[in-house]
Amino acid sequence: MLYHISQGIKGLLKAKFSTVFAIIIITLSLLVIALFLLFIVNTQRLVESIHERMELEVFIDNSVDSLAVNNIRMEIDRIAGLKEVRYISKEEAAEYFVSQFDENIFDILDHNPLPASFRMKLEKDFRTSDKSNLIINQLKQINGIDDVIFRQDLLIILEKYMRIAFVFVLIVGGILAFGSIYLVSNTIKLIIFSRSEIINIMKLVGATKNFIRKPFIVEGIIQGLLGAALAILILIVALKIISIEIPNLLVMHTEIYWNILALGIIFGFLGSIFAMNKFIKY
């Protein structure tokens, strides 16, 4: 193994210019991919916080008595996907009206027309338009419930934009990945050409195909690793600067750094495999 690693490093040092170029391209590609991941993670964080604040409100028919309200509560509790269910009495609704409109309902009308209600939140796994629709239908079927209000349109818009962003990231990330692999492959091809003499001699004297290939795989992986390490370093420094200027603006998960490192290794490995499949044959 030491032989392959030393040969791999020698090869990279021989093709300095193309090696540096490939490393820079890998770094740039991984940086752009990392920025997209950063965007997705932080958009998801924003969406989560919006989701967390979204409430379902179930209005109770004015004719329902307190015993029936208890039954409604029990039926709501039986529905999966709901949490933090709170009962808002007619009186609390009137107080809420004051806090919202700064005016007492009894100053406008001689009675309290506001119905009692239940307010509740959706559990994390149920915050999709399909699942929330299902819950709304179940709620509507409960006797004594007059109406169910939920800002579903916001949920639908959020889902739609998240999907578009995800597809965009996938396409651009794919193109960048392909470009990086292509460039690593070209660098390895140049190294293979520069060492065609030694490769031919190895073939003549009986070196196995795998033995000839290993140094080139090492070269590809080293390029990918260096490109990824550089991208991670730039990201850490950039995020540090941003967090000093605007604290808590961006969140970065450690897994993203590991993903970038893994992607770098994969780009380098695939690049060398493609080059060798074409140029190192028996």
Binding site: Y3, E197, I198, N200, I201, M202, K203, L204, V205, G206, A207, T208, K209, F211, I212, Y282
Partner: protein, 216 residues
């Protein structure tokens, strides 16, 4: 040991060999004589399976070209030594490193490498020049390094493709003497050459090739 049965192979240019039947037994020394483009190198390439017969078949040390898989090539080549007119040495490595390189890439135990390299260098009389670079040697000496490299894996046959083509008569004679010695020790040799003069008076077997066909 080496059997060619009605072997034909041609390149798109038309050069190649046609219907060749040839047997080489262990320890035999055979000269393959013919002009440039007669098919000598192609015949050698067929033996070390760099190219494969388009018709007929070859058996080399038990490897049959009809049942041959490309992954066997390295193991076949470890049993065949090959030398060329242009030596094909690695000019960025010393004489000694040119030899040890072969042992390294064929997976020889580290402890054996030095011993075996020094032994073959002694056989070709270059022990004292082991640390020189190939460019610091004469043509004849470079070919001796190539011979040492070909012998280091103890092949059953040495294929020599115009080994004296780039050498002056004295150096050429020197190479022939070394090949003789190697043959006496039991290694078969198939030497391709275009030079009739080189084989004048020899008692060894001579095979003539012309336009890809063997002529008796």
């Amino acid at each position: 040991m080496i059997n060619l049965y009605n072997v034909s192979f041609s390149y798109p240019t038309g050069e190649g060999v046609k219907g060749v039947n040839l047997q080489i037994t262990p320890g035999e020394f055979v000269y393959l004589i013919g002009p440039s483009g007669a098919g000598k190198s192609t015949l050698l390439k067929l033996i070390y399976m760099d190219v494969f017969p388009q018709s007929g078949h070859i058996v080399v040390n038990g490897y049959n070209s009809l049942k041959f898989k490309k992954r066997y090539i390295p193991y076949l080549r470890r049993k065949i030594g090959i030398i060329f007119q242009d030596f094909k040495l690695l000019n960025d490595r010393s004489v000694f490193e040119n030899i040890t390189f072969v042992l390294q890439v064929t997976g020889t135990k580290r402890g054996d490498i030095k011993k075996r390299a020094l032994k073959v260098l002694a056989e070709v009389g270059l022990s004292h020049k082991r640390n020189k670079m190939p460019q610091q040697l004469s043509g004849g000496e470079q070919q001796r390094v190539a011979i040492a490299r070909a012998l280091v894996n103890e092949p059953i046959i040495l294929l020599a493709d115009e080994p004296t083509g780039n050498l002056d008569p004295v150096a050429a004679n020197d190479i022939l003497n070394i090949l003789d010695k190697i043959n006496v020790k039991g290694t078969a040799i198939l030497m391709a050459t275009h030079s009739d003069k080189l084989v004048q008076g020899t008692r060894k077997r001579i095979v003539n090739i012309m336009n890809g066909k063997l002529i008796s």
